[in-house]
Symmetry: C2
Amino acid sequence: MIVAPLEPGQGHCVEPLLRSCGEVFSEEETRVALAMVVDALRGNYCILASLEGERLAGYCLAGPTPLTESTWHLYWLCVHPQFQRQGVASALESALEDAVRASGGKRIVAETGSRSDYDPARAFYRSAGYDECGRIADYYRPGDACCFFCKVIV
Amino acid sequence: MIVAPLEPGQGHCVEPLLRSCGEVFSEEETRVALAMVVDALRGNYCILASLEGERLAGYCLAGPTPLTESTWHLYWLCVHPQFQRQGVASALESALEDAVRASGGKRIVAETGSRSDYDPARAFYRSAGYDECGRIADYYRPGDACCFFCKVIV
């Protein structure tokens, strides 16, 4: 597995990757995620890809949080179902930490839902050393809170 | 005191209002706030003004939170020092609640700093019925956490 910045020529692989996750991402979320990929390929975000041979196994997209000195937001992290539970998310997150550290960032914030199909996402953040800093009930929709996670980069 | 949507012809009054608050808003924050006023006057956010005669006593800027069903974010709330402690912030927040309710919104989220010159802001949110839902330490800069507040609109 190789983790490297997503190349412009690989941008078209993100939509099938997002759609492979089934109901996890709504149509609107997929639309927003793809718009941010376009922005990232213009240099406005950091986008990292995990490649298994020629295939895109996963990607993450992050960027410095506006109006903060050294905080980053991890906006999207997606792994193809065929490549889940093989360390892809960890490899992406670890490479992101390196990128954040190299640019002087000191912490990464991730926001995720409380609903059950996000159980693996929350478990992943905890295992990767993120602390849950708070929840806003019913944030995304009734019954689906926003859970804030943060990891301090050392 | 009248609270009403900010008119395009009043847009130029926001910069002196922000600058009247001294060090509370950094140069970068002022720049971002003014860009969002321009966006609001194009219809992309809700912007409400509190007028004392011809003068702009305060304003707030808010909008539906992307990828949520019924959450709004209150992005900016600013009252001129000459008009503070006279109910201007309460009047603006109350009018915003009406606007959020009218558009089907169910809660308002506000994020604010933990540093001492934001003590009045945090006290205001608590008095207005917002609950603090969490904090991310050192979010804005070392020693300045992000405090998340949320009020459910009934």
